[in-house]
């Protein structure tokens, strides 16, 4: 029942998504790959990326789930406003996000100068990487969980309350399990977004090896040829893709078992 006319744009769309990755695979220097991947220049950014993206994802869960609950259970007008505010970072170019973070937390920033007096410096630290990643990833989690909460509605929660369950019990034993699929989807999306984050990190955290040089920054650095080769950039890209695919597959099977 698919109109034939749709096949042409569908094929072009698929080609646009797949061919660049295929091109990348053709560029890989396979014999030299193991050495490239096991080098300090590859392992250090990979470790930093996995660590910061994990911390960011945990932060997204800790902050995003409560925010999603507040939005989902607010009056429609308030909810609309909050949802719009949450969506802004999603549509901003990440570079603008980086400038915004610097404006707030940078040395001359509104909050940054106060923190400076207290002896705290956030920009160009690993903490800045985590903050930048959380900034860009949080909207994905909030929107996924909030949608699931609205779909689930309040009817089960109301019944649980009439049975005698307090709000905390209802949240932990009824609400969270009900939105588990949305929670999982949101977690995967925000982890993937944090892992791929470049623009805000580059501006707000910089590109210091071992401190703020995550995978995307390492790839950029390698590609610009400051001491390393294009082969290295290609190898690192391959690694990032592999990590993303592995996580998607792992979560996909877990998700299937949750839903079945």
């Amino acid at each position: 029942m698919i109109p034939r006319l749709l096949y042409l744009p569908a094929s072009i769309g698929l080609a646009l998504l797949v061919l660049p990755l295929a091109g990348l695979l053709l560029q890989v220097d396979w014999p030299g790959l193991p050495a490239l991947l096991l080098s300090q220049e590859a392992l250090q950014p990979l470790g930093l990326s996995l660590a910061t993206a994990s911390v960011s994802t945990v932060l997204c869960l800790l902050l995003g789930v409560p925010l999603a609950v507040v939005i989902a259970r607010s009056q429609p007008r308030v909810a609309g406003l909050l949802r719009a505010l949450v969506t802004v970072p999603l549509v901003l170019p990440p570079l603008v996000g980086g400038i915004a973070l610097l404006s707030l937390l940078g040395r001359g920033g509104v909050l940054g100068s106060t923190l400076e007096l207290a002896g705290l410096r956030i920009p160009f630290t690993t903490a800045a990487v985590v903050i930048a990643q959380t900034f860009v990833a949080l909207p994905f989690l909030v929107i996924a969980v909030e949608g699931a909460l609205r779909t689930a509605g309040v009817r089960y929660e109301r019944v649980a309350a009439t049975l005698g369950a307090g709000r905390g019990t209802v949240f932990a034993r009824i609400t969270l399990p009900l939105v588990a699929p949305g929670l999982l989807a949101g977690t995967v999306l925000s982890f993937a977004r944090a892992l791929g984050e470049f623009g805000a990190t580059a501006l707000f955290a910089g590109n210091q090896a071992g401190v703020t040089r995550t995978m995307p920054l390492a790839i950029y650095t390698a590609f610009n040829g400051s001491g390393v080769t294009t082969d290295q950039a290609v190898a690192l890209s391959l690694l990032l893709i592999a990590v993303a695919v592995i996580i998607l597959v792992l979560v996909g099977t877990r998700r299937a078992s949750v839903l079945s």
């Binding site: 009817r155 089960y156 109301r158 019944v159 649980a160 309350a161 009439t162 049975l163 005698g164 369950a165 307090g166 709000r167 019990t169 209802v170 034993r173 009824i174 399990p177 009900l178 588990a180």
Partner: protein, 368 residues
């Protein structure tokens, strides 16, 4: 009507006085519930029945008014006890079993957070006993989606009662069930309310629910109670078209005797054999049959087939939905419906003596 409602207030378990305005809808209701009593709240769609239940359960706040249970104030100006501390249960037309929990875990949830406050292992054991009570002993491990609609509703009943509510609110609990499952569920609710001594308010469209489950009926119309009394009283003298339409059946509330129901005036109504088997040997019962099932003759019929035959006087002749309605003498009065031509053929007039008959197979019966 209001004074009659307050009459029982001296020993009331639940007392409510609720006012609410939403747009053009205004609700103003006073009601009471005695310990162990089951009140049927009847009314057309949009009359505010479900709103009343929400206000009692603490799922909505009235603009003004009070709700007290056992003298404890739940809702009053400046005071609002949340639903989880009211011990007022709610069973609606959807079972709303938690989809991620098994039948056993659903009931155990109520036992842990409800009145009983059991620990996990006690709650599981007690949950199995509750499932046994509703005839689902072997379904403890089943997830709700593996159960039929009727089974889900039985688990929901077990869960609601396991929480140990002081009052159970039932919001059309049979509405989503098919015609074969509904009577079983109705009897189960009746039994379990009686066994646990739970007071209840049941919102319903179905006269049979009121007859089988309730001691008392209140009729809600446009946000106000317009009638209240025992089921038989309210139905015998309908005060508004909705009740009249509901009462479009003949309802004989009496006592069960050898497989039939004896009316207050001593008339015996034989009932369909399948229903007779379900009746208690003695005790209160009700027989229900449609006016169209009543055959009207001027001579005493001589058939020997299993039917109810009696003579009565015509007390009223009025237009009805399916022809002419004939009201006939007796306690309670019986309404017959027949065509205008038949009325003319028989030469019926006010005060005529007629012979009425109803086949036993047309009469359904219920325990009360």
């Amino acid at each position: 009507m209001t004074p009659a409602l307050w009459k029982s207030a001296a020993n009331a378990l639940l007392e409510a006085n609720l006012q609410l305005t939403r747009g053009s809808f205004t609700l103003d209701v006073q009601l009471t519930l005695a310990p162990g009593e089951v009140l049927a709240l009847l009314g057309p769609n949009g009359s505010g029945k479900s709103t009343v239940l929400d206000l009692l359960a603490g799922l909505a706040t009235p603009d003004a008014g009070t709700v007290t249970i056992d003298g404890a104030v739940l809702t009053a100006p400046g005071r609002f006890v949340p639903p989880e501390r009211r011990a007022i249960g709610l069973l609606g037309q959807d079972s709303l079993l938690f989809p991620h929990l098994s039948a056993r875990a659903n009931v155990a949830f109520a036992l842990r957070v409800g009145d009983a406050q059991l620990n996990a292992s006690e709650a599981r054991k007690e949950a199995d006993r509750w499932l046994d009570r509703v005839g689902l002993k072997d379904f403890g491990g089943s997830l709700p989606r593996a159960l039929s609609g009727g089974q889900q509703q039985r688990v929901a009943l077990a869960r609601a009662l396991a929480a140990g509510p002081r009052v159970l609110l039932l919001d059309e609990p049979m509405a989503a069930l098919d015609a074969e499952t509904a009577p079983f569920m109705r009897q189960l609710i009746r039994e379990q309310l009686a066994e646990t001594g739970t007071s209840a308010i049941i919102v319903t469209h179905d006269i049979v629910d009121a007859v089988v489950l309730a001691n008392r009926v209140a009729v809600l119309h446009d946000g106000a109670l317009i009638d209240e009394g025992t089921t038989a009283e309210v139905l015998a003298a309908p005060r508004n078209p909705f009740v009249a339409a509901l009462a479009g059946v003949n309802l004989i509330v009496g006592t069960v005797q050898s497989g039939g129901v004896v009316a207050p005036d001593g008339r015996m109504f034989w009932v369909r054999p399948a229903d007779a088997d379900d009746l208690d040997a003695t005790g209160p019962g009700a027989a229900v049959f449609r006016p169209a099932s009543v055959v009207v003759q001027t001579e005493q019929p001589r058939h020997a087939s299993p039917r109810n035959v009696w003579s009565a006087r015509v007390t009223a002749i009025e237009p009805g939905s399916g022809g002419v309605r004939l009201r006939t003498s007796g306690d309670p009065e019986v309404i017959a419906e027949l065509t205008p031509a038949a009325v003319a053929d028989l030469g019926l007039q006010l005060g005529s003596t007629v012979w009425l008959s109803v086949k036993a197979t047309e009469v359904s019966a219920y325990r009360r």
